[in-house]
C-alpha cells in the first residue's frame, strides 16, 4: 500500500508537468486546428535555454523562465507566421502535421549543432533535496515543478477567461468566421495562440531539464507522450489534456513501482488504445470539443 501511494504521489507530480506541455499543445490545436509535432522540440529548446542561463549566469531555472517564456513566445509566433499561415485552409490539417514535424527536425538540428548531442541535466543545488510527509518521500524539485505548472495553468485559465485577448482566443476556437465578423483579428490571434503554446513549452522545458537528462533527440520521446495525452483527453480540450496528463503520470508511475520499469511508458499506450477502442473521440472529446 505504501508503494502504491508513493507511486500515486510521484505520478500526480509528474503528470502536472506534462499537463502544462499538453495544454500548450491544446491551445495551438484550438486556435488553428493544427497538431503541433514541434511541441516536444520546443520543450527541449526551452530546457537548453534554461540550461545555458544556469551554467553561464547561474540563473535559477525557475527564475530563468521569466526570460525563456517571452523568447519562445516570439519563436512560436514567428514559426506560425512563416510556415503555417501560408497553408491553405482546406489542406491545413494534414499539411500542418508535416510542416510542424519539419520544424521539429529543424529545431533538433539547430540544437545539435549548438550543444552537440551528449546528454545534459540542470544540476541545481536543491536537485537532491526531498521532504518527508507522513512517511512519504516527496522530491523538492518535483514538488516545485508541480506547483509551477499548477500556477501557470491557473494563469492561463485567468488569461483565457478574464481578458479581452482571452475572449478573442476562445471566440476563434469556437467559430473563426463569427469571431472575425465581430472584429477579432484572427491572424494575430493565431500567431499569439501559437506563441502561448510555445511559451508554456519553455516553462515546462526548464522543469524538464531539472528532472531528466536530455539531448537534442529527446523530443521524439516527449512528442509521443504529449500526443497520447491530448488524444486520450480529447483533442482541443484543455481540461481533457490535464486529466490525460495525470492519468499518464499515475499509470506510468504505478507500473514502474509495481512491475518492470521498462514497461511503464508502454502501459500508458495500452490505456490509450483501450480508451480509443471504447471512445474514439477521447475522454472529453465529444462534449468539450471546441469549448476550451
Amino acid at each position: 500500500m505504501h508503494t502504491v501511494i508513493q507511486a500515486l504521489i510521484l505520478g500526480v507530480l509528474t503528470g502536472g508537468v506534462y499537463a502544462l506541455m499538453a495544454s500548450g499543445q491544446t491551445i495551438i490545436f484550438g486556435v488553428m486546428k493544427v497538431v503541433n509535432l514541434a511541441q516536444g522540440a520546443l520543450v527541449i529548446a526551452g530546457a537548453y535555454l534554461s540550461y545555458s542561463l544556469f551554467t553561464s549566469f547561474g540563473l535559477d531555472p525557475f527564475l530563468s523562465i521569466l526570460v525563456t517564456t517571452p523568447a519562445l513566445f516570439g519563436v512560436g509566433a514567428g514559426l506560425q507566421w512563416l510556415f503555417l499561415r501560408p497553408l491553405r485552409e482546406e489542406d491545413r490539417a494534414e499539411l500542418s502535421l508535416l510542416v510542424t514535424f519539419a520544424v521539429a527536425l529543424g529545431i533538433e538540428g539547430v540544437l545539435s549543432v549548438t550543444y552537440k548531442t551528449n546528454y545534459r541535466t540542470i544540476q541545481a543545488g536543491y536537485a537532491d533535496r526531498s521532504f518527508t510527509v507522513g512517511g512519504y518521500q516527496i522530491s523538492a524539485v518535483r514538488l516545485y515543478a508541480f506547483l509551477l505548472s499548477a500556477a501557470l495553468l491557473g494563469l492561463l485559465y485567468l488569461v483565457l477567461q478574464r481578458t479581452k485577448f482571452g475572449r478573442a482566443i476562445r471566440a476563434t476556437v469556437q467559430n473563426p468566421e463569427a469571431a472575425q465578423l465581430l472584429g477579432v483579428n484572427s491572424r494575430v490571434v493565431a500567431a499569439a495562440g501559437f506563441g502561448i503554446g510555445a511559451a508554456t513549452a519553455a516553462a515546462a522545458g526548464a522543469v524538464y531539464g531539472l528532472l531528466y537528462s536530455f539531448n537534442s533527440g529527446s523530443h521524439y520521446d516527449l512528442i509521443s507522450r504529449l500526443l497520447s495525452i491530448v488524444v486520450l483527453g480529447g483533442l482541443g480540450s484543455i481540461g481533457g489534456s490535464i486529466v490525460g496528463a495525470l492519468v499518464m503520470g499515475v499509470v506510468a508511475a504505478l507500473v514502474a513501482a509495481l512491475g518492470p520499469p521498462i514497461w511503464s511508458d508502454f502501459s500508458f499506450f495500452i490505456v490509450l488504445l483501450a480508451v480509443l477502442l471504447l471512445r474514439p473521440r477521447g475522454l472529453f472529446g465529444a462534449s468539450l470539443r471546441g469549448a476550451l
Binding site: 491553405r88 494534414e94 510542416v99 527536425l105 509521443s224 483533442l235 499506450f269
Partner: protein, 348 residues
C-alpha cells in the same frame, strides 16, 4: 490501361531493371536500392494516405515488423537456396504483416484525419518500445543479425535491387488496380466524405481496412528485404519516425493519390537526401538542410508535382481553346490528373 500508360510502364520498369546490369559501380546500385525501398514504401503508403485519405504516420512500424520477422527467423539459419531463401519467404512475411495491419487498422481507423495520424504515430512508438524491450526476441538495443548473403561481391546489390523492383511493380500494380476498380472508387468516396459514402451503401470499413492491410503488407515485405540487405538491424533504425516521414513526404512531393507521384517523389528525394547526408552528415547540419528542403516543398508545392503539372496543362489546354471540362480518356492514368478524388471530380 491506355496504350500510352502501358508503354510508359514498360519503358520505366525496363530501364529500371537494366540499370544494375549496365552500371556496376557499388555506390550507384546502392543508391538505387534505397531509392527503390522508398519508392515502394511511398507507393504503398499512397494506398491508405493518398487514395483513402487516411494520413498514416505509423507505416514504419510495419516496415520494422517485416524486418524483424525476417531477422528473427533467419538469425540461426543459413540463407538457403543460394541465398534466395529470405526473398522466397517474403510473401509469408507480407501476409503476416497484413493480418497484423488488419487488427491495428480495425482500432486505429475508428478515428479520422489528424487523430488517426496521431494514433498511428503513437503505434510507431509502441512498436519501437517493443523492439527495445522484448530482449529475448529482438535482441533489444544489441540488435539482431541476418546470415551473410552468398552473392558475388562485384554484383552484390543486384539481387536486392531486382527484388525491390518486383515489389514496386506489385505496389504500383495494386495502386493501378485500385484506381480502376470498385474498391478504388469506394476508397475515393471514403476520402471525399466518409459518412455520406457509408450512407449511400459503400462498404466503407471493408474498403479502408483492405487498403490498410495491403499497404502495410507491402511495407513489411520491403522491410524484410531491407533487413537482409543491411544484415544487422537495430530498433532505432528498423522502427524509425524518419522512415515514416520520408515516405509521406515523397508521396506529397510527387502528388498523393496519383499512380506515379509517390515514385517520382522518391526518385527526387532519396538521392537529394543521400547527397545532403554525404555533404553534411558529419555535423548535424544535415538535419537543418533536410528540414529546410521539407518546408520549401510543403510551402511551394502543397499539392505535389504531378497534380500541379496536371493543373497547369489543363489551363494551357483551356487557353488553347479546348474546354477544360472535357474529360481525359482515363483520368487516373493521365499524368497527374488532379489528386484523383471524387471531390475533385465533382469540383471540376
Amino acid at each position: 490501361m491506355s496504350r500510352a500508360g502501358v508503354i510508359r510502364a514498360l519503358l520505366f520498369f525496363g530501364l529500371l531493371t537494366a540499370l544494375p546490369f549496365a552500371v556496376t559501380e557499388h555506390w550507384i546500385v546502392n543508391l538505387g536500392v534505397f531509392t527503390l525501398i522508398y519508392a515502394g514504401l511511398a507507393s504503398a503508403w499512397n494506398l491508405v494516405g493518398g487514395l483513402a485519405g487516411y494520413p498514416s504516420l505509423g507505416h514504419a512500424a510495419f516496415f520494422g515488423a517485416g524486418a524483424y520477422a525476417e531477422a528473427i527467423y533467419f538469425q540461426h539459419r543459413e540463407a538457403g537456396a543460394n541465398g534466395l531463401m529470405p526473398f522466397l519467404v517474403l510473401p509469408i512475411v507480407g501476409a503476416g504483416v497484413a493480418v497484423l495491419g488488419l487488427a491495428v487498422g480495425w482500432i486505429a481507423m475508428r478515428t479520422r484525419s489528424d487523430v488517426f495520424a496521431i494514433v498511428t504515430i503513437t503505434l510507431l512508438f509502441v512498436a519501437q518500445t517493443l523492439a527495445f524491450n522484448l530482449n529475448s526476441l529482438t535482441g533489444g538495443s544489441q540488435g539482431i543479425g541476418m546470415p551473410a548473403a552468398p552473392f558475388d561481391v562485384d554484383t552484390y546489390e543486384r539481387p536486392f535491387y531486382l527484388v525491390l523492383v518486383l515489389l514496386l511493380v506489385v505496389s504500383m500494380g495494386v495502386t493501378w488496380a485500385a484506381l480502376h476498380s470498385g474498391v478504388g472508387l469506394s476508397l475515393q468516396a471514403v476520402a471525399a466524405d466518409e459518412e455520406r459514402a457509408r450512407g449511400i451503401g459503400v462498404h466503407v470499413t471493408g474498403a479502408k481496412l483492405l487498403a490498410f492491410a495491403v499497404s502495410v503488407g507491402i511495407a513489411g515485405m520491403i522491410g524484410g528485404v531491407w533487413a537482409y540487405y543491411v544484415s544487422f538491424i537495430y530498433p532505432q533504425f528498423a522502427v524509425d519516425p524518419l522512415v515514416t516521414i520520408g515516405m509521406v513526404l515523397m508521396a506529397y512531393l510527387g502528388g498523393r493519390g496519383t499512380l506515379w507521384g509517390p515514385v517520382l517523389g522518391a526518385f527526387i528525394l532519396v538521392p537529394a537526401q543521400q547527397y545532403l547526408a554525404y555533404q553534411y552528415g558529419a555535423t548535424q547540419l544535415y538535419l537543418i538542410a533536410y528540414a529546410a528542403v521539407f518546408l520549401l516543398i510543403m510551402l511551394l508545392l502543397p499539392r505535389g508535382i504531378l497534380p500541379s503539372l496536371g493543373h497547369l496543362l489543363r489551363r494551357r489546354r483551356a487557353a488553347a481553346g479546348r474546354s477544360p471540362d472535357e474529360p481525359a480518356q482515363d483520368p487516373a492514368d493521365h499524368a497527374g490528373a488532379g489528386t484523383g478524388t471524387v471531390a475533385e471530380e465533382m469540383a471540376r
